[in-house]
């Protein structure tokens, strides 16, 4: 476990995520600087400093989003996948009803 955790810290990329101010739903920072509802369209940040800078500038957009933070992702052939189950739920929606993002999918 320890080895895996260390490896995780070293190699995982990150994305900037938040909740939209008006709807409250989950959004991700896209490559063009807009906010997207889809993790697949999120800008993937490999470099730690670059990620911190992206977060700091996203944090200033308080009229668009609330609660920006960096979340770890794993790169797969299908694009970025959440490294943690919390982020998996955020991109999908609750497990008891087909509400949230999964409803639109």
């Amino acid at each position: 476990m320890t080895r895996e955790t260390r490896e995780t810290r070293e190699t995982l990329a990150q994305i900037v995520t938040a909740n939209a101010l008006i709807e409250g739903d989950v959004v991700y920072l896209a490559a063009d600087g807009s906010w997207t509802r889809h993790l697949t369209q999120a800008r993937v940040l490999d470099d730690k400093t670059e990620a911190e800078i992206a977060l700091a500038s996203a944090d200033m957009r308080s009229s668009e989003v609330v609660g920006c933070y960096l979340a770890a992702v794993r790169m797969t052939p299908n694009g970025p996948e959440p490294a943690h189950f919390r982020e998996d739920f955020r991109r999908r929606g609750p497990s008891n009803y087909a509400h949230g993002k999964q409803a639109a999918a």
């Binding site: 955790t5 609330v66 919390r86 008891n96």
Partner: protein
């Protein structure tokens, strides 16, 4: 039922007007989130995982039909057609949009409801016995006192920025259905020299440091209630810690300072402020409130229809055996409508279900509805003669599940399906336990058993006082569930004991089954409930059932 007067109406309307303006200023960029957050929290608005969440107070869990219909209307107009009833006797809407919230609050105000002080470091919604005013075992209806406390605590200028949130529960019965020993202040009605007063319990609470409350005063005369409560909260406001959020609740204040010191400070403060309270005016106000909670006239009725259905209809009989409770009028019953249909989300009700409950309350329930901290709905005054028709009507909307007090009547917090604080999911664990034991057809054989599930250590699901408690945690990026046994939220309040290492998401239901089968094997008879058996044999046999077999499987 308390009816708003002009003061209440004007107060709520003004508060809603202020909040509408605050929302507008947040949206137009005049307020930052840091500025807006405390304002929205004061009005019950959270931002959760997937959306905003509006928590609406249902003071002491009492509603009338018109209010319930309004909750249904709000669910349809502004949400996804349902609401979630919580362990704090509140209702939560999981999907509002920020610009709609002021309209939701105005709609609530039309029927005398609000979301004030359902969040933040204030005195929260006062909770009470969901059988208040109806139970045969009651000294007096505690709701007038609860309403008095609500009026005293709402917007109390001294108590808007307490070290931490503050929860008060009141019961009028020696049988504690309000978990008073797990509240910041618990008030249990007691009689001394023929006069009802309160035993004052302080410093109970669950969360990351669970504690059973301690008796601060054996007997508090009713006339002293408000100055004494003010003295307790005032003492806490100064003495409580503000340096560490996790040590800020009054349970820690009492623990660190000792009950004696807290008692001395409270009594000194009480002596100081009591003369400023107008006891006669408080009594007048309490009398006025009591008039609004007058028990409905319950005409004598023959219960032949009930007897016939009970003899001839096994489905009705099963429901009557689990979902009815003794009313002080023997020809009436207290009906618990289960919001725990097997496989459904504990505490959720659709707008259609809410409207049906409202209709039934009007037709045969004297227009009274209660929400319990166990996330069910109660019709407190139903003539036994009306029960067969009521049961039939409930079946039409999936509301006739006969499981109150049984293994599938599970308390579950929203967990990581909704809550931003959660560390694991609660709802699907509850759903799977319910469907699993339903499929095994063991539920009625197992008998009374309270399972309570929390999705993080904050313990909204009351897991510490579950006969079986389940706590969902994040262990190295994987959901993991710890089990506690022997907890009890009643007048014999006890905290559950941890069994040992937790279980993975796909192993928690089999683990619960091993506990239950161990109980079935070791109980002396069907009359020995899980909790009684646990107290007799201790945790040992259950640990063996949980972990020895796991070792065998691994071997």
């Amino acid at each position: 039922m308390y009816v708003y007067d002009d003061f209440d109406r004007d107060f709520v309307a003004e508060r809603n007007r202020q909040f509408r303006s605050q929302v507008q200023r947040r949206i137009d960029g005049s307020l930052t989130e840091d500025e807006f957050k405390p304002l929205r929290l004061m009005n019950g608005l959270y931002l959760q995982l997937h959306a905003y969440m509006l928590r609406v107070a249902i003071p002491f869990g009492s509603l009338n039909a018109v209010q319930m219909r309004k909750l249904a209307e709000i669910a349809d107009r502004f949400d996804k057609g349902y609401g979630h009833f919580t362990t704090r006797q509140n209702i939560q809407y999981n999907w509002p949009r920020l610009p709609d919230v002021p309209d939701m609050l105005d709609a609530l105000a039309e029927v005398g409801l609000h979301a004030i002080q359902t969040s933040g470091n204030t005195i929260r919604n006062v909770t009470s016995d969901h059988f208040a005013g109806a139970a045969a075992d009651e000294i007096a209806d505690p709701r007038p006192v609860a309403e008095l406390i609500r009026q005293w605590s709402t917007d109390h200028p001294e108590f808007q920025f307490l070290p931490r949130k503050f929860k008060v529960a009141v019961t009028g019965s020696p049988v504690d259905r309000a978990v008073t020993r797990a509240h910041d202040i618990g008030l249990r009605m007691v009689v001394q020299a023929g006069e009802p007063g309160f035993e004052v319990i302080v410093g109970g609470g669950l969360g990351r440091t669970p504690m059973i409350g301690k008796v601060l005063r054996d007997y508090l005369p009713l006339a002293d209630l408000l100055p004494y409560l003010e003295a307790v909260v005032s003492t806490y406001n100064l003495l409580g810690r503000r340096d560490n959020k996790y040590k800020a609740r009054i349970k820690i204040t009492v623990h660190e300072n000792g009950l004696e010191k807290v008692r001395d400070l409270v009594e000194a403060r009480f002596a100081e402020i009591a003369p400023q309270f107008d006891a006669a005016e408080t009594t007048r106000q309490l009398t006025r409130i009591e008039g609004m909670f007058a028990a409905p006239a319950l005409p004598d009725t023959a219960d032949l229809a009930y007897q016939a259905a009970y003899q001839n209809d096994p489905v009705f009989r099963a429901w009557a055996d689990t979902n009815l409770h003794a009313h002080r009028a023997p020809d009436h019953a207290i009906v618990t409508i289960s919001l725990k249909a097997h496989g459904d989300t504990p505490g959720d009700a659709t707008s259609d279900q809410m409207r049906l409950i409202a209709d039934l309350a009007e037709v045969c329930g004297h227009n009274e509805i209660r929400i319990s901290h166990e996330q069910n709905v109660i019709l407190p005054h139903v003539a036994r003669a009306d029960l067969p028709a009521l049961h039939k009507a409930l079946r039409a909307q999936g509301l006739a599940t006969a499981n109150v007090g049984l293994i599938s009547d599970i308390i579950a917090c929203p967990g990581m399906d909704y809550c931003a604080l959660a560390t694991a999911r609660s709802i699907p664990v509850a759903q799977e336990i319910a469907t699993h034991f339903d499929a095994l057809k063991l539920e009625h054989d197992i008998g009374p058993l309270k399972i309570k599930i929390s999705g993080c250590i904050n313990a909204c699901g009351h897991h510490h006082v579950g006969h079986i408690g389940i706590l969902g945690l994040d262990r190295a990026g994987v959901e993991n569930y710890q089990i506690t046994l022997g907890g009890d939220g009643s007048e014999d309040a006890h905290l559950g004991e941890r069994t040992g290492p937790g279980f993975a998401y796909d192993q928690i239901v089999p683990a619960i089954e091993r506990i239950v089968r161990a109980y079935l094997d070791l109980r002396l008879s069907r009359d020995e409930t899980f909790l009684v058996a646990y107290r007799r044999v201790g945790i040992g046999p259950f640990k063996a059932a949980l972990y020895d077999s796991e070792a065998e499987h691994a071997a």
